[in-house]
Symmetry: C2
Subunit: 579 residues, 2 copies
Amino acid sequence: MSHAYKDFEPNWLRESFSPTSYRSIFKWGAPDRIKAPKESLYKLLKETFQLTDEAFSDYTEELGLDEVKYELPIRLTTQQLGKFASIVGPDYIRTDCYARLSVAYGKTMYDILRLRHKIVENVPDAVLYPDTKEQIEEIVAYCAEEKIPVYVYGGGSSVTRGVECVKGGISLDMRLRFNKVVAFNEVDQTITVEAGMSGPKLEETLNNAVQNFGAKRAYTCGHFPQSFEHSSVGGWVVTRGAGQNSTYYGCISDIVLAQEYATPIGRIKTDTYPRKAAGPDLNQIMMGSEGTFGVLTHVTLKIFRHMPETVCRYSFMFRNWETAQSAAREMMQCEAGHPSVFRLSDPEETRIMLRLYGVDETPLMRLFQSRGFKEGEMCLYLGFTNGEKGFSKNCAHMMKKIAKQYGGVSLTGYVTKSWEKGRFDDPYLRDTLQDFGVVIDTMECSVNWSNMSRVHAEVRAFCKSRPNTICMTHMSHVYPQGANLYWIFITQCRDPEEFKAYHAGILSAIQKSGASMSHHHGIGKMFAPWLEGSLGRREYAVFKALKAYFDPDNIMNPGGTLGLDLPEEEKKFLREDIK
Amino acid sequence: MSHAYKDFEPNWLRESFSPTSYRSIFKWGAPDRIKAPKESLYKLLKETFQLTDEAFSDYTEELGLDEVKYELPIRLTTQQLGKFASIVGPDYIRTDCYARLSVAYGKTMYDILRLRHKIVENVPDAVLYPDTKEQIEEIVAYCAEEKIPVYVYGGGSSVTRGVECVKGGISLDMRLRFNKVVAFNEVDQTITVEAGMSGPKLEETLNNAVQNFGAKRAYTCGHFPQSFEHSSVGGWVVTRGAGQNSTYYGCISDIVLAQEYATPIGRIKTDTYPRKAAGPDLNQIMMGSEGTFGVLTHVTLKIFRHMPETVCRYSFMFRNWETAQSAAREMMQCEAGHPSVFRLSDPEETRIMLRLYGVDETPLMRLFQSRGFKEGEMCLYLGFTNGEKGFSKNCAHMMKKIAKQYGGVSLTGYVTKSWEKGRFDDPYLRDTLQDFGVVIDTMECSVNWSNMSRVHAEVRAFCKSRPNTICMTHMSHVYPQGANLYWIFITQCRDPEEFKAYHAGILSAIQKSGASMSHHHGIGKMFAPWLEGSLGRREYAVFKALKAYFDPDNIMNPGGTLGLDLPEEEKKFLREDIK
């Protein structure tokens, strides 16, 4: 991707790099895809960080172009390695430095900063590339016997240190072979896949169901997280993810119909009934276990009709955050069905989006001004609807009607279309900017409507307490009872530990203001120290009881995931009353 | 309620009875409400059972008019009784025969048959009427210390032996005092209530939210099980119930936002965030626990706008069960939003409904015949939509359009209205008919679309294997992936054990045909022997691990609930492969 800069084009790293370099591991997504900021964003960053073009002439951060090389002993015995080779086949086990590191980290900013600095702390002893459910069951059973830690690598887009192999052992890289369709059932509108199936492959498979399965029509999976292109179905499920269209299609925990796991105590399989009243919901017990109970093997998902022709797009500008929030709440409580994408930006995000889209120099800006809207107060809302034609149309009609009732100025569907173009692209920016010491990262949480203003204000205040920090907030994944609040912050930072401390501060601010720890990123090892303090001791101990049942020897994703094996002194309790 | 019979009016029991009689306990609902069958139903029954009017002149079954009296020792000590009295107040503990029996049974047919025959097997030693969450917490903590069994009585409409006090101890009767509103939050659209709140009181409270809470508008709870008038919020939640409008509003497991329990290990409280990605879902672990983990105290429910003016009603006649099923599936998969009530009757239920409504002697019948529809093949479908005006209208429009595509003949909204009139009334029939040895009972399960015909045929075949048995089936609580199938069977039976065996046979047929044990009635003690065999040994052991954590001494609803303390030899395994 090339951008024409009018005055000065920074020295963005555009050349290709070794496929076995550190950069090849920490870089987002496809190796040959690079995204540089638009000139408007570049100017904003220079302003924010009080930098000159000079600062963007030479890289100020490690680029990670070196070949991966480190000395970490393999602690598995020859016999153990032989056993694994006999299960997956000798071509599908690797113990070289590159393979081990390639699955050791996700895309948590802390991981990326460590990898740039060649800080290699935790890698598996061997990487296995399983082909079938039965192989995975055999691997887990053997690891249970031998007490070998088991990690799983799906899409590798974790932002919670979810996949980090803290205790060595093996990591199952699901991408290569464990990514097939197991069953397609058009009558029940379901598809069963292996957990390593990637998002794009699933969606393509469903979009082409007529050709692939002789189906009557095309389908969609309905699940499009920002990490879509580099995420796997298994990752969606075990972390309780949500896609950008979740307001209509539901979060993954609504979309999953059945699951199958290979656990240390054997196979755990749930059934595919649409609903049951037969004790606690086993599906909802397994989802969110983040690899600590067992390895997810097969997943049955609900699928939806692929009807891109019924999409109705719209966008609005609201006077301020309070008015916009009220409109958003009415949209979700009016019972006109739920729109699909629903994104409401706060004043800072709006200001930056207007600049990025160049709106600040157009007649549109004068229209806002004529209505008395002020930069720094205005809020941009965009969205679209899905579903059957009449449903989609009526839903869009109601969203527009409500927006107008709350004084929103219509910006047509153009803004939404612009957003759609870049919806899976933004993470590519991270690498380019970081070469110059600029970090972009995100945090998110779930909030009730009645607490929305407080959470927004308090978390934002913390983010901005770091000098020269951009903090953009938006609301998405919206419900009649509340919504997800999502922060994108941009700051200058090079030191992994300094970043980690700032990140922890944001998480604390989120919790202190009365929001959930995460709406859809999950907990992993990064947020784990806070989990018990967030849920309460007795409530959290339920997870421990489940862990003790499924994995008594703690071989599944050990080393802090969900805090299940975290020493007491490493846990954080933000509220006294919850101990 | 009085019915004019043209020829002969059976000697239906219409006189009042002692409020401390057995009948006062096993009778459905309000003491003064009695429902006798319409003449058309009476005629049908006579035909089916080959009976003359003579048989309905004298009661052939025990009427249960005697005063409750039995000799079952109270095993609690004076000190224990004193302690309970000190917690709830001396006026709110009872140990008399009537009080003890009044909460010992639900409305399971097996219970009713036993009570008619004065078979009193299991009663609590004392009945407590708690007033506050704190009282319940103190009671449970004390019972944990003293190892006293704890049962809970809410609405008393269990059809699974859910409330039966198999091990004595205490029962908490929630109806009297533990039925208050704790909080109403219009911004978040939620209400928090004590678990003993009855369905009608909740709905009335919400319908009058303007007067009660100064709210901006009226709300509805959206949850209307057939037992609505005699059910409690707590019962809905712990059994994972579903209301007749669940296709639109969701089952209770969708409607619950947060819960609080008093368990032997202390208070368990979930939070109110609209969605989370923070480990397994604790709400979905507690729901379905049926009193075996702890006593549900407070519940926060999502509420919905009360908009009766937007309801759109419709009904159709389809040519046959296969065509009707296909139409039903298309209705749920077309993504036009979900209708609220959705009821599709199979040919036998349709035939009987036509007779009951007297349609079989009208010109309408000739219309069906002119289309080539045949009695014994035709299927009646009725429903209505809820929601915002445009949503409701579009949804109804699509349901009608699809019905017509599948050859359905429109019967207007009249049939739906007739159904609505009697929707909570039918259980009253049970008592009246049983006085003459005729039993009406129901069974239900959850089925995927692709297995619907098989489940319907096989379960129906078993039901009809009992001579002279009416077996009406309908589909309701419908999803894109399948639906609930619901059987109403009418047969002659007097012996509780004979009935129990028949009932067990139906449950076996349901499972063998590949359906779930229950969609919304729950498991209780009645279905419990099959639960482990239905889920699988390893999957079921998850429930045991949870039980061991919450209630290590098995004081919560002990004696077979969910099969958690059932001896191995009492369990049933229908499938070899699941052991």
